[in-house]
């Protein structure tokens, strides 16, 4: 059995610089949560100014691949527009992080959270709740 964790997964897992709370305040803060029956939980938070994802943060109780995928997502989309979230493709993550086939299902949880985040970040300003 080869190592199920690629170098990048290991690096993200040990040092997930985007884990935790947003560090600054923004004109908008949006968050989204997804969980599954296996007990995986993923929580995303975005600090938005000028329709730009100024800061992305996550929290998770999740397997290493999902933690790494969340970190990878934050790293890639920070500084991009909220509409760019449409470009998220879980298969890119699977490929780049070399997620074993048997584990790809777990990545879909991240996709759920991102879709929710996108919907919420597209909502009019005034509907923003304190999340």
């Amino acid at each position: 059995m080869a190592d199920p964790y690629s170098k990048r997964v290991r690096a993200y897992f040990v040092n997930p610089v985007h884990a935790g709370n947003l560090r600054k305040s923004y004109s908008r803060v949006v968050s989204a949560t997804a969980d599954d029956r296996q007990g995986n939980t993923i929580e995303l938070a975005a600090g938005i100014d000028d329709d730009t994802l100024q800061e992305l943060r996550f929290r998770a109780i999740a397997c290493p691949h999902l933690i790494a995928a969340a970190e990878h997502f934050c790293e890639r989309f920070e500084g991009r527009t909220t509409t760019s979230l449409l470009e998220f493709d879980p298969w890119d993550t699977v490929r780049e992080l070399q997620v074993p086939l048997g584990k790809t299902g777990r990545i879909l949880l991240l996709e759920d959270a991102i879709q929710l985040l996108r919907r919420k970040s597209g909502e009019p300003e005034q509907q923003r709740a304190d999340e």
């Binding site: 929290r59 074993p100 584990k103």
Partner: protein, 397 residues
């Protein structure tokens, strides 16, 4: 974990143990001696030598259990021994009754046998343990019937180390003429087992759990009427036709030496385990939301099983590297199923999957325990720092 990989710290001796140097030496002597390899079934002088070596090993293995040599049947390991005992005895005794009893906390090599027998038309009563992990004898008595012909309850649980009172369990069976099989894969060579005293009819053991080689085990078949299981495989007179096939001479020799060493060292090892395990528990037990699975007084001292709220089991395993331990989570599998043993003891799914089993071996040293403490603290704290704030205490049992 980062940079050049540090040496693994092996605390997974309940999965398998390193082969003792004396065992390896005996195996190599056999493999390298001019005729030590000969087939023990051959009638020529080389074959007779091999046969004598095997019979010597049989005496050594029998000695470990205080059994008679002719009560020992060599197999390829405890998985096969369990199958031979359970499938073999149930089928052999089908006319005696079609009701069988076992526990939900048995090893897969037992539970899957009973599932197979259910498909063959046997009726199985699956007993749950108490929250302590122990079997309540009253509960056992309550389910026994006139057509109950076989019970299987293990000695030491492989996940938690919980030790069942096999003497009492066996006595209940014997009083009713029910055959009692005991999976002793985790206890043979570690706890005292005296089969002249214990009312056990069939007992499985395997060399690789006590510093013998992998791929060799035994089934004890008591020299009592009705104990003989039907064979699972056919093809020759070896092992009294209960388990035919060319005997693996070097493996059996290694098994014999390991058994003799274990008998001599068992007590001292157990004492050492007790000290090391408490050092380990002292070092981590103050972490919040930590659960010890199996009370100290009911568990084999070589095993410490601990669950942590608010952490994922697979991530915990990765965070623990280079510790080699076992997890209650089904890592690297899509199923994501958590330990059925811990759930049967009443743990939540979340706590069951976060469980880590530390298991000690003859060579385990203080320094390894300290490394384990340091890694475990780091990993739990690292993962909890990533977790949503409300999660940390949400997973209590």
């Amino acid at each position: 974990m980062t940079g050049t990989s540090p040496l693994p710290v092996y605390l997974d001796h309940a999965a398998t143990t390193p082969v003792d140097a004396a065992v390896t030496a005996a195996m190599v002597e056999c493999l390298e001696s001019p005729f030590g390899f000969a087939n023990p079934s051959s009638s020529h002088i080389a074959g007779r030598q091999s046969a004598a070596a095997i019979e010597h090993a049989r005496v050594q293995v029998a000695g470990l259990l205080n059994a008679e040599p002719h009560e020992i049947v060599f197999t390829s390991g405890a998985t096969e021994s369990n199958n031979l005992a359970i499938l073999g005895a149930a089928r052999q005794r089908a006319s005696r009754g079609r009701h069988l009893v076992t526990m939900t906390t048995e090893h897969k090599a037992v539970t899957e046998c009973f599932e197979a027998l259910e498909r063959e038309g046997f009726e199985v009563t699956w007993l749950n343990p108490e929250m302590s992990g122990l079997l309540d004898p009253d509960r056992l008595e309550a389910v026994l019937r006139d057509d109950t012909q076989l019970l299987s309850v293990m000695h030491v649980n492989n996940e938690t180390g919980i030790v069942q009172d096999i003497g009492s369990i066996g006595a209940i069976c014997r009083a009713r003429g029910i055959l009692y099989h005991c999976d002793a894969a985790q206890s043979a060579g570690k706890l005292e087992i005296d089969l002249k005293v214990l009312p056990v009819d069939l007992m499985s053991l395997t060399a690789h759990k006590f510093h013998g080689p992998q791929g060799i085990g035994a089934l004890y078949v008591a020299d009592r009427p009705g104990s003989h299981p039907a064979p699972l495989i056919y093809g020759g007179p070896q092992e009294r036709r209960i388990r035919p096939g060319t005997q693996a001479v070097h493996q059996i020799i290694g098994f014999g030496v390991a058994a003799e060493l274990a008998a001599a060292r068992r007590e001292a090892d157990t004492e050492k385990f007790r000290v090391l395990r408490e050092r380990l528990w002292q070092g981590i037990g103050d972490l919040p939301d930590l659960w010890r699975n199996g009370a100290e007084e009911h568990t084999f001292p070589g095993i410490l099983n601990v669950s942590a709220g608010g952490v994922d089991g697979e991530s915990l395993m990765l965070g623990l590297e280079p510790l080699c331990v076992a997890s209650g989570a089904a890592c690297n599998s899509q199923s994501g199923e958590s330990s059925y043993v811990l759930r049967a003891m009443g743990r939540s799914d979340a706590l069951a999957q976060s469980a880590i089993r530390f298991s000690l071996g003859r060579g385990t040293r203080n320094g390894e325990i300290d490394r384990a403490i340091e890694r475990y603290r780091w990993a739990v704290q690292h993962l909890r720092a990533l977790a949503p704030a409300r999660a940390a205490t949400a997973n209590r049992a």
